[in-house]
Amino acid sequence: MDLELILMQLFSGLALGAILVMVALGLTIVFGMLGIVNFAHGALFMVGAYAGLWVAAQTGSFWWALLVAPIAIGVLGMAIERFLIRPLYGRSPDDPLLLTFGLGYVLVESVRITFGTDGIPFSAPEALQGVVDLGVGYFPLYRLFVVGVVALVLLLLWVALEKTRFGLIVRAGARDPLIMKVLGVDVGRLWLLVFGLGVGLTALGGVLAAPMRNVSPEMGTLVLAEAFVVTVIGGMGSLLGAVVAGLLVGIAVSMTALFAPEMATIVMFALMALILLVRPQGLFGRPGAGA
């Protein structure tokens, strides 16, 4: 096996992992703050992709889709938190999980009714088609673009969480919501925003992934399982963990595809089983935080 092929596959894995990072980040931010797992996360990824498809068809521009769809789905996420999840705070932690799981069903069926059950191809914009020379070989420009967008989003997120007053409140709220309430912070509004942000991130992942695979109502199912694998490996609630594990899984899948294609989907689950055996709290998880 020559080195160039391996390097190319490494880049492919990076692009794949970048999408996973978006989805897992949304999942883990919501968990870190609200303490709930959103089982509709995969379905919202899919809805994001369809929203992108629709906006692109209406405006004729991929750029509008990239901007508008995640925001619109993020707002939808806020409505979900406000009207469906909020009544469940204080009840069993399984309840929000079960509710979002039912919601996932409703979202998938709604999309099937609106857009049909068949997959729809979604092509990358003209400007991003073609390949670039990376020195070791030719690489699809669009995948490079995906890695770039995700890196930019990560940077913005890092600045927002670490350098602003809003980020300070979010991080404090994740530590101890009760104290935040005592200090006069409107925790309910904070949770609303964070849930919207988490959903927006997965929707962005959906729009970005759309040109790399077919858009279909079932595309969220595998993504949800993948996001779970990434969060378990990285450590629940850890943002750094989501990023590292997302890229790790992407590269592992892509590398396995090179040597043993039939094992590609299986390898990430095996990786998760391994992590569970040696470090149940995940790579960056705090011990006792859930494991």
Partner: protein, 338 residues
Amino acid sequence: MMSTTELAAPGALPAHGPVSAGRALDRWRVPLTVAVLCVLPFVLPSQALAVNVLIYGLFTVGFNLLFGYTGLLSFGHAAFFGAGAYLTGMSIVHFGFGWLGAMLTGVVGASLLSAVIGALAIRTRGIYFCMVTLALAQLVYYLALQASGWTGGENGLRGFTVARAELIGGFSVNLLDPLQKYYFLMVFAALALWFVSRVLNSPFGAAIEAVRENETRARACGFDVERTKLLSFILSGALCGLAGTLSALHLSIVPLDALSVHTSSIVVMMTMLGGAGSFFGPFVGALVFLLIEDVASLWTSHWQLIVGIVFILFVLFMPKGIWGSLIALARREGRAPR
């Protein structure tokens, strides 16, 4: 709060109160369920529906042992249902086993698989547990998809129709006759129900409920929490494997869908609809779910939308499920001042 008389002398309750009715219901729960199962093919709109209630009811009973009684929410129980079904079919197709050997292979195989997945999953808790079980079940799904030489891959496993089940003493059951097949399968479901009822009444049954109520306290009381959880997981997996086995004998094919997230989801919904942690809940849930599917699919192919909405409404407004809410209602009336 319980009244003082109840605390002082539980035996001195009036004989006709709802509480004693509840007790009688509890004592006769297995014969009652079996009696209902016996008449099911004649009261439901179709016999196919009755078989499905039987199979999915048993599947839900197995799941409920883990979720309702032990408090562990698994999103990967399709792995055990599917393993039971596939191993039954595969042992007939590839090794020419008889129906009994095939069934045993299915149940034992599903138990072994649940021991492996359970041992990994119980290292985690709460929300983590849901995610890990889902992911590991996906692993099993993709393994079955890849090993198409053994499992038939995407097309599912075919070609193992069991037409006749030979019993001891020269008797045999014609499995091509729907009604004979129903009662044949029901015998195994009844045995499993009796087994579950015994387990729940045993000290082990108390132990799993102690773990559900408060893990730390159960540990402090000297229970081996990990072993209790693992054992409950394996029992649950074995029962779901049996349900899968019955489904394989019933359908004579195993669709790949038996291992999918969808199958894991169905059992969660059935349990929630009926009422987690109650003996009758699973069958009530399976019946209601399959009736919704049956009726709704008459006029729309998007019946899953209706199921999803009903499920959301249940989580929001009736989290104890149908049977669980009925019990709660009866208890409240039983405690009202007489």
